[in-house]
Symmetry: C2
Subunit: 382 residues, 2 copies
Amino acid sequence: MENFTYFNPTRIEFGAGKEQHIGEILAEHGVNKVLLCYGSERIKREGLFDTVSRLLADRGIAWVELGGIVSNPVISKVREGIATARENGVDAILAVGGGSVLDSAKAIAAGVPHEGDVWDLFVGKAGIETALPLFSILTLAATGSEMNPSAVVTNEDTREKFFIGAAALYPRVSIVNPELMRGVSRDYLVYSASDVIAHLIEAYFTASVHPKLQSRLVESLILTVIETTEALLADPADDDARAQFAWAATLALNGLTYSGAAGFSYPNHAIEHALSALFNVPHGAGLSVVVPAWMKWYHGRNPAQFERFARQVFNVDTVAQGIAALEAWFDKIGTPTRLGQLGIQEADLPAAVDNVQRNMRLFGIADTYSPDAVTAIFRNAL
Amino acid sequence: MENFTYFNPTRIEFGAGKEQHIGEILAEHGVNKVLLCYGSERIKREGLFDTVSRLLADRGIAWVELGGIVSNPVISKVREGIATARENGVDAILAVGGGSVLDSAKAIAAGVPHEGDVWDLFVGKAGIETALPLFSILTLAATGSEMNPSAVVTNEDTREKFFIGAAALYPRVSIVNPELMRGVSRDYLVYSASDVIAHLIEAYFTASVHPKLQSRLVESLILTVIETTEALLADPADDDARAQFAWAATLALNGLTYSGAAGFSYPNHAIEHALSALFNVPHGAGLSVVVPAWMKWYHGRNPAQFERFARQVFNVDTVAQGIAALEAWFDKIGTPTRLGQLGIQEADLPAAVDNVQRNMRLFGIADTYSPDAVTAIFRNAL
């Protein structure tokens, strides 16, 4: 085990009906006016928007609206949110949506008190010492953003998908009601499964120090994701499966599984972010293509852990069988495993490899992931 | 899954040398004067006391001392600590020790601002709304008290071992350095293993709702405790095993494994607390006697979960084999499994059963655990 600090101050309110408490939660935190961030029209269609605005009104909390946040959220929208927040003097951000809305809300929360352009924070030109307090109501479980201090946003001018992370960005309270996720499409359910598994395997496979305790926790969460995804595909009304899926997604990226691990990196995310930035593919769809391709390229560097994965997750004997089993499972649930399924052709690879390099430098792993190496990984997914 | 709130604001500083930061941590929290609570002379002999007092002095933090806190800590010592804290106007409590020191420190932290006698808080005569801020340096991993808001103390006049719990009692920061646990005796290591396993199985077996995700997390932690205890018995210098043991002990009772579970109770603790209160047996030693005896009595109420336990933890097929395997493991590591090993005879049972009843009423499970039922459980351990 490596030394670590574990500190996660986000309060999670989990379960049916918890969104009914949003007014009192904001009032309890002394909030007077929020920027209400959301994405799709689903929250209006399903009545959640009306519920939330009524609950705010009941407590005398004013709100201004920032709708239309898209998947692979963009920095121009974040800038719009910062301007709206400043003009209206909001004292908190309320995100109602999935990871894209949460991440945009975090960037806005950090951007409001920052004097320069918000992209400075993504490229390391400035640090994040303070942010507006952030609250969330989650409507899609995947990214874990509801209980972590990180956010990923795309700069559509530079075609860069970069991240920020700072203690000030932990949501104060996140409401996770699995019933609010009933409207998630089949596609986004399976992309979410792929995203959660990708979060879990990055440190699991790449860490130079990864205690068996943490490996067991990771495997417990992967097995839960596999089982509950299958249950939900078979029966979308299985709210208990949806609840376990959602809590597994939160635990997958809230610091728990990383505590005591060291020397790990996020190569699959670094590669996928390039696909999202260039071709606007859904993050989870990109990851289910990248992960098996990367595993085929990487496994020789950590054979014992790949054997463990094969045995513990898929009950098969060899590294190759374990990788094949994960790829077959992605195929089975219907998330892509080939670049062609994302509309990406061989001719697109040089641009993708170039974009990946920028991410690898940002993640500090450009030496391992040379252009040749990344090309080889992509070729595994042709 | 049941609805739940997950909120654990304790910051854990885990790993070698972390106690060197205690001065800056207290200063960062604006602390000027602490009540320094400890138990055995081990922390003086091993130099930790000198280290801590030097680090406090370096930051200009004053301290008054409360030493001599014993295992199965007693309310008279807590009262002494409250008086000392008040007389000296301390603004925080610093616990240096194991669960008994932590629990005493929590009771003192709650007792200082309480106007009446501190035992009022244990018997429900008054609630705990506020407490002095609490910090800890852990020297024995077992109770999880370093990352939870509960404490158990014995009233030596009434022979009651009761508990308190309140959000104000979460330690602000707990330092967990496994190297500070090298001096733990072989006996206390195996008692600790039994204590952690007991924490993990209470909800696992008794909950009316216990999602598979949480069962997997519990099994991951039990397997880690079994493996690392054996590693430490074979080689007390195995610091990595000690670290995984310590982190498993913290995670076993920090709320993680209970999130989403419902309708559970703590019968093994309710029974053991009577043994500690009456016969002053070490808590973990009492638990390794009670747990197998209770399992033999209880398993028919939740056969599926007992089968799961047998398969997942011990890789055996039947409920009876699973219970026998745990009992055999306790025997193997050298923690007691029979009342006689604790010096408790058949003639002592009526008094024990009577004491258990008070705990069962406090835990709200007196209907299930009638005197006859508790007698039957004890008889399984004769």
